[in-house]
Amino acid sequence: MKEEVRRLLSEKEVAGFLGLRRDERGAVVPHLFTLENIDEVESLVVEEDQRYSPGKILLKIVAAHPGEKIGVMARGCDERALIELHKRNQLNLDDIVILGVACTRALAEKCRCPLPFPSKIAHGEKVEGVTGREELEAIEKLVEDERFRSWMESFSKCLKCQGCRSVCPLCYCPECGLAEESIIRHGEVPPEFPVFHLARALCLAGRCIDCGACEEACPADIPLRKLSKRMQEIMKELFDYVPGMSPDDNNPLSFTGDAEALKRLGGVIAAMKEEG
């Protein structure tokens, strides 16, 4: 991997390469390797489970250096975030060279990841993902009242730290809907729940690539991934759509589409069954 990064930089295929390095403290941190400091590539770290979403960082770099080619080290979830950002014109995949890293089985299990590898793998070997839905079934086993109480108790611990938004690669909106007073009253901790968390889940429908950064960043241990995994399932069931797979499809909730697609909704919405 280090060889490839050195080659990309010295042959000027990329102006910089975003990866991870071990710093003076021994900690793993994101870093942009450049031709000027090519010796630093020696400290590039590939096998490490410290995850900082490169999509989030690339947004800042690309905004300051539009049009320049940048390389990035990306795991499966990282690439899916980049594809979603490309679809939304936040960056251009044509200007990004991805060196894909496949995750180990241990990492896939830690992240409960169904697809722990990117589309092209430069390092590591493809392993099977974790596809069970036990954590969702645990919720679905509860009757409505218990389900409601269990979620409300989780949400009541929310500190409104906005960590979920700060780490999410798909949360880039300069004006977030959750900051609207008409949706969430200002000045309260916890914020009005469940509307805060459910509104966020709705915004993420067809957008969230289930990387899990939000749950890792939540100081209140709110089970956000249960929500994001269920939203992914809903989008798959209703629209056969999975975010992050291809740069060519689009979130069904963001365009009107054709009447054919609406036919699948008959199972959930009675009015659609009648219209047929």
């Binding site: 102006a15 910089g16 975003l18 710093d23 403290r25 900690a27 793993v28 941190v29 994101p30 870093h31 942009l32 450049t34 410290q50 995850r51 900082y52 960082i57 800042k60 770099i61 300051a64 250096h65 320049e68 940048i70 500190l159 409104k160 730290c161 906005q162 960590g163 700060s166 780490v167 890792e216 960043a217 939540c218 100081p219």
Partner: protein, 136 residues
């Protein structure tokens, strides 16, 4: 094109959560929660996530300011500013006694700076009126 992270500690409360300041082309542009830090393990509170806002704020003071004859603030040198403050504090101490003065220290200061401020209050000014912003 230069992007690097600089490890730092949150300037707000006494927890001391670790963060990585993102520096793009020499300017701080954001921060990441330090996932390896033993105190916070990649999590921050809302103040921590916005700890950088004041550093690059347009209204951040960059020089001392002294209110001029017209009533508005004018830029001044550190020497002028310190002379003014020292002169006024001495005058107030002489006219109204040391207990008319008080010192408020800050959580943004280091322990050593807070110690110096305490000594300043008690030994230099001669008053026990010293307290800390955390008690407000």
């Amino acid at each position: 094109m230069d992007y690097r992270t600089v490890p730092s500690v949150c300037i707000y409360c006494g927890c001391g959560c670790g963060m990585l300041l993102e520096v793009l082309d020499g300017k701080p542009v954001g921060l990441l929660a330090d996932k390896g830090h033993p105190v916070n393990e990649g999590r921050l509170c809302i103040k921590g996530w916005h700890a950088l806002e004041h550093a690059m704020h347009a209204e951040r003071l960059t020089t001392p300011l002294i209110r001029g004859k017209g009533g508005s603030f004018e830029e001044a040198s550190w020497d002028d500013a310190l002379d003014l403050v020292a002169g006024r504090l001495s005058a107030i101490k002489k006219d109204s006694g040391p207990d008319s003065l008080a010192v408020l220290t800050s959580a943004k200061c280091t322990n050593e700076e807070n110690y110096v401020l305490m000594k300043f209050a008690r030994a230099a000014l001669g008053t026990n009126n010293v307290d800390h912003c955390a008690r407000l």
